[in-house]
């Protein structure tokens, strides 16, 4: 029963939403709006609660380790402080919530993201070698693409830009189309398998 009931719910809503997507009748549209606008949001709220509970549980376990405790405390403080600030002073305009968002979260995230540039620098020096003909073609294309995104006082003229646009319009786009078609077919197949109950891994490993 623990296995059958979720499968029935999943299959039922899978079929209903699929049918509703194509129906034009006002009652069907209204039901569709209720499911997408209200029910989906309620499910999201519960999923968020599960995520928060899991985050707290995992971090409290880690608190005992002295080396990790400063990070754990910072994480937990952030988790509790942000909702408290939002509840006390709101989240708009010049509220403390927005101040923390703009002056702590934005710079921290941008910094972590910017670290990628250093990894790219390291990889360029150590890993990007012309070891074979395909690697050389890739290397030359990457160099020209990089040049095309740079524009220092018009040093590189339009030729790098034109070549880069050609690479994007033909070899790159044909590969991208192949991937997109593959993703589309894979999504349809997986959805059908889940709706029909053939794919059951989402029920957990013991199911």
């Amino acid at each position: 029963m623990a296995r059958l009931f979720p499968q029935i719910i999943c299959g039922f809503f899978g079929v209903v939403l699929f049918v509703l997507y194509f129906l034009k009748a006002p009652s069907a549209k209204s039901l569709y709006l209720t499911i997408t606008s209200d029910y989906w949001q309620i499910i999201f709220a519960f999923a968020l609660l599960v995520g928060v509970a899991s985050f707290i549980r995992v971090n409290i376990k880690k608190l005992s380790k002295l080396s990790e405790s400063p990070y754990v405390i910072t994480g937990l403080l952030g988790l509790f402080a942000m909702p408290v600030m939002a509840l006390l002073w709101g989240i708009k305009g010049d509220s403390p919530f927005m101040w923390v968002f703009e002056n702590v979260q934005v710079p921290l995230q941008a910094t972590v993201f910017a670290l990628l540039a250093f990894f790219v620098a390291s990889a360029s020096l150590r890993g990007f070698k012309a070891r074979s003909l395909p690697a050389t073609i890739l290397l030359v294309s990457a160099l020209i693409a990089l040049l095309s995104r740079s524009d220092i006082f018009g040093w590189f003229g339009n030729s790098a830009l034109e070549f880069s646009e050609w690479v994007r319009s033909y070899p790159s786009m044909s590969a991208r189309r192949g991937i997109l078609i593959g993703i589309g077919l894979g999504s349809v197949t997986t959805s059908l398998r889940v709706i029909l109950g053939i794919e059951r891994t989402w029920l957990g490993k013991d199911r």
Binding site: Y32, S37, S122, L180
Partner: protein, 267 residues
């Protein structure tokens, strides 16, 4: 020099290149690409006072790249007197989007509720896009500031995508795809995008098929757009740093390959 030292040297070099070029504060007038021109012409050609949804579909991490793009698009749309409806499909885009719209609206003396409105964030982006296709007011009963949407002047004649001329998605990831797949394919709303440079090739097939009307990308795209608008901005100011970093990366690739071939020759 061992590999650890060479890596640290590469890091230090990149840091110096970016810092020095940012401090120089020189703006670069970028040559305009066909792609950016197409986006400019598309938005420029929309009839005056069109209703346009600007969707802030990005996170805080990409703000240095997305903010210049968002600014040029908003400046262009406000300058053309369009009615703008701001939404965010990612939570972090909410604060950023509201602040950007508010600041840009001030530059053009636009009034909240009459010329523009910010509806805020709705979780579950696919559900939000589909739901807005049926009813924008039903999806957002209140705007970001807590006003009832049915009482907002701007939204009195805007019910769903049938009343919207275009959606401009400001995205650092794949969210524009959902606007195309659900907004454009199911409801027929025209979608265009301003995206992070790393996402440009992802959307090329959609441009080619016409599902995405136009696209501008990356810091360079922002600099080109500023050039077309005839205004200065952070896109052009950051271009020197980005271009210098690119040249530095190219230099590292060349040094890495020269070292590789020399070591191979030695056996």
């Amino acid at each position: 020099m061992n590999s650890r030292q060479s890596r640290h040297l590469a890091f230090a070099g990149l840091f110096i290149v970016v810092t020095v070029t940012m401090l120089l504060n020189i703006s670069i007038v970028a040559t305009v690409s066909n792609e950016t021109k197409q986006m400019f012409d598309y938005l420029d050609g929309l009839p005056e006072r069109s209703n346009i949804i600007v969707s802030f579909d990005h996170e805080a991490s990409s703000l240095p790249e997305m903010k210049p793009l968002g600014l040029v698009i908003l400046r262009h749309l406000f300058a053309k007197d369009h009615n703008l409806i701001g939404v965010a499909l990612l939570a972090e885009g909410t604060g950023v989007g509201y602040r950007l719209m508010q600041e840009t609206a001030k530059e053009y003396n636009k009034e909240y509720g009459r010329d523009y409105v910010f509806l805020g964030f709705k979780p579950q982006f696919i559900a939000a896009i589909l739901s807005m296709g049926e009813s924008i007011g039903g999806t957002f009963p209140e705007d970001y500031l807590g006003n009832t949407t049915s009482e907002i002047e701007l939204l009195s004649d805007i019910h769903n995508y049938d009343d919207v001329a275009a959606v401009v998605s400001l995205a650092d990831g794949s969210l524009t795809t959902h606007w195309i797949e659900y907004g454009n394919e199911k409801y027929g709303v025209q979608v265009s995008a301003a995206v992070a440079a790393s996402m440009l090739t992802t959307y090329d097939p959609y441009i080619s098929s016409g599902q995405l009307k136009a696209m501008v990308g990356g810091l360079r795209g922002a600099a080109e757009y500023e050039n077309l608008l005839g205004i200065g901005g952070s896109g052009a100011r950051s271009m020197l740093a980005q271009s210098s970093a690119h040249l530095y990366i190219i230099l590292l690739i060349i040094i890495g390959n020269v070292t590789y071939f020399r070591s191979r020759k030695k056996g």
